[in-house]
């Protein structure tokens, strides 16, 4: 087995080639054979992913020079522990969303035709970003991702969705431009774009600081970090459920991923603790404001969307908990931060799919319509309920494990104020999630007026929710995987 894995050629570029071919096939053929094409390509991508996990375990971090040109002339792909985790989560979540969409889109014949190519482009661009270590290539990846995501939001052509998509487009473009300006400044100052090469070089002069500030601003806008989150709730709340799931689980994480690579890999010598504290403060704002707004929503999907705003805030704690602290505290924060990203990706995708199923069942978007769901639709509710456990951070879920690690890190570095954020945020999320549960068990009708979603729709949501739950129980393996990418250790 191991010799077979070693003899296999490097499969890294196929993670991008396969979804691009998928997009081209589905564009050329329209709605013809769409499910078969999707099935074949998802199978190939999952198989590639599995083999890559095997190769990584055997050989360690994988590198690939595109076109056989070496850095700094060419572009290099890189698969380290974090990238492997991201690629795998992307495969799982996108596969589940595809399964959901294959049935759900039957009600939206107009959206059918262009959903699949845009989904494939989204998958391709996510893999581009996870594998890239080149600042300009990351920009191209962000552009592709942003446009595909905007297209997916606008797909139904309904006025609300169009308005949300247009806002999203403006935010994405502004974010891209700010990021690109920063890249240009870095290139003019250092003559190269490769992140690992830059990591030892960056100095704290005005040019580099402005570059980092501009790139950070752009990436914060794209990640929808409070107070730059205003575009997110309508875009995620008004899109089709499989699209919302994909956007909340993965798309906003891509720009955060670049942010972490930029701050904690390349810029570690340049970033100062006060800036990191500021990033953490933004995160705290997101946790509280997002949680409060989620509680105030009357529409189920908007509630879930604001929950994303809140959950993204936890990710920002990785900066204050890693800059200027002991190696032990830094490692805890590193593992906790990425685990939070993965747990939220799985749980939020499950929650959006479940919310879509519930809205489909009650034929109305507001939470009041949930009355009686607990009795008549226990299976549709199960996905939402299980996902809620991880979002609230209750044991044994992945969400719990992530927050536990962040909490330990905060204690280890003596930054007690982040404990308040972790505790307060969990309490708030419990409040808005129990608001939904509560409505489900109010019984004011004796008749089952619900439309019952097909089993496939419920299954795709429940599978993801179970994955999010088991992430906490089996967290040792992902933690070990993530820890390998922390080569430099803490600061």
């Amino acid at each position: 087995m191991s010799s077979l894995l070693q003899e296999l050629p490097q499969l890294l570029p196929w993670l991008v080639i396969l979804p691009l071919f998928w997009a081209l096939f589905s564009l050329a053929l329209g709605v013809l054979y769409r499910h078969w094409i999707a099935g074949v390509f998802i199978f190939l991508l999952l198989a590639t992913n599995l083999i890559l996990i095997g190769q990584w375990l055997l050989l360690g971090d994988l590198y690939y020079s595109l076109g056989d040109w070496d850095v700094p002339l060419g572009i290099q792909l890189r698969l380290d522990g974090v990238a492997l985790a991201m690629v795998t989560v992307t495969s799982l979540v996108t596969a589940a969303c595809s399964l959901h969409a294959s049935t759900y889109l039957d009600d939206y014949p107009r959206a059918q035709q262009y959903f699949w190519p845009l989904l494939a482009f989204t998958w391709a661009s996510l893999n581009v970003i996870w594998l890239s270590a080149d600042l300009f290539n990351l920009y191209v990846g962000l552009e592709l991702l942003g446009l595909s995501a905007v297209g997916l939001v606008a797909l139904t052509g309904q006025t609300e969705a169009l308005g949300a998509a247009l806002r999203y487009l403006y935010a994405a473009l502004l974010g891209s431009l700010a990021y690109l300006l920063g890249v240009a400044l870095i290139y003019s100052g250092y003559g190269q774009l490769d992140l690992p090469a830059l990591s030892g070089l960056l100095e704290s002069d005005a040019s580099t600081r402005l570059a980092l500030a501009l790139m950070t601003l752009g990436l914060l806008l794209k990640t929808a970090i409070f107070p730059l989150h205003i575009w997110l709730p309508p875009a995620h709340g008004k899109a089709l459920p499989p699209v919302s799931a994909l956007l909340s689980a993965l798309v906003v994480k891509a720009s955060f991923y670049i942010l972490v690579r930029l701050w904690l890999e390349a810029g570690l010598q340049v970033v100062v603790p006060s800036a990191a504290q500021f990033m953490g403060a933004l995160g705290a704002g997101a946790v509280f404001w997002g949680g409060w707004m989620a509680w105030r929503q009357t529409e189920l999907k908007m509630l879930v969307a604001y929950s994303t705003v809140a959950q993204l805030g936890y990710l920002m704690l990785i900066f204050p908990l890693m800059v200027g602290v002991s190696p032990t505290a830094a490692q805890l924060a590193w593992e906790g931060g990425w685990l939070q990203l993965i747990a939220h990706a799985l749980a939020k995708a499950a929650m959006f799919l479940a919310a879509g199923n519930l809205v489909l069942a009650m034929r109305r978007p507001d939470i009041i319509g949930l009355h009686g769901v607990g009795r008549f639709l226990p299976f549709s509710l199960l996905g939402f309920g299980l996902a809620g456990v991880s979002i609230m951070g209750l044991p044994p879920s992945g969400g719990f494990m992530a927050k536990w690690l962040l909490l330990q890190s905060a204690l280890a570095s003596g930054q007690w104020w982040w404990l308040l954020v972790l505790a307060g945020g969990s309490a708030l999320s419990a409040v808005y999630i129990f608001k939904v549960y509560q409505q489900c068990y109010i019984e004011d009708t004796e008749v089952d007026n619900f439309r019952h979603p097909s089993l496939l729709l419920d299954l795709s949501s429940i599978t993801l929710a179970l994955l999010a739950l088991s992430l906490g129980i089996f967290s040792a393996w992902p933690q070990a995987l993530l820890a390998t990418a922390l080569s430099g250790g803490g600061v």
Binding site: P9, P13, I17, L20, F21, L24, L27, A28, G30, V31, L32, Y64, S65, L66, G67, D68, W69, P72, L73, G74, I75, R110, A111, Q113, Y114, P117, L118, F121, A124, S125, V128, F136, N137, V140, G141, E143, L144, L147, S148, V150, G151, A154, L155, T156, G157, L162, L185, S188, G189, Y190, G191, Q192, L201, E203, D205, A206, S207, T208, L210, A211
Partner: protein
Amino acid sequence: MILDWLLAGALIGTAAGVLLTRDLYRSVVLFIIFGLLMALVWVRVEAPDLALAEAAIGAGLTGVLFLDALGHLNPDKAAAVRQKYRQPLLSGLAFLLALGVTGLLWMALVDSPQPGVHLPEIVDQQLLASGVEHPITAVLLSFRAYDTLLEVAVILVAVVVGLALRFSQEDQPAETQVLSPLLQKMLVWLLPLMLMVAIYLLWIGSYRSGGAFQAAAVLAAMAVLMRMSGTPIPGHSNLYLLRIGLVVGLGLFLLLGSVDLVSGGNFLAWPEGWEKASILVVEGALTFSLGMLLFSLFEASPAPKQASMTRGGGA
């Protein structure tokens, strides 16, 4: 030097004009002038490839898109939009923000490190190995072909989104057409000439400024002219042909880029000894496809009346 200052002043002047003018139509015209001035700036900083692209896409095609959008805009709504953006407080804040960013950029340029790596030199050293003689083409299609591949995908996605939205619109506005005998007469001469320019730009791309993007812009401009004058475009209303045309550029790029990979080599390494031929084939396909993509952006805004275009394809 005086020319540069004049150019810079004119650039800022037209930019301010675009933002401040009361009339949207005048704003668009000023935007086109801004694009042309920008192209001149690129010429002044010795970036002729950018100048060509800026003139063709930045000023030409974008201008046409804006004018076209303007034609579909409800005049009352346009006025309301204008009102919204004319709040003095907001304008003042935006002005201060722009001033602040400019100041910061100025400071950054003054206090900037000296690059330890000089990439243009490395490009020149490796130029022979790339198979083409023009450094920019070598960067775009050899050294950083991956970026170009993804950029083509970006344009394709933009068109896909445009198509998706056009197909989901219920009402279809009237067709844009200019019926001018002068235009018709001119086109007889202009169209073959444009085709020649496009092919020439594509061909010289391997050793001088030019290439697929610039050639595609000329092709697209040709198609826009034909569309507006009512000259029939071959295969125009065939939806399958349109789809194949859209994907052929990226598809061929991917396929040829994978040849070496499948035979045990590297992704986007052109087959040994066939570097120039591969690059030319990819550029040719890209020109055709990108031309069609850029034209589709224009087409995607107004839904044409032909039922075959909007209803076909099982949408």
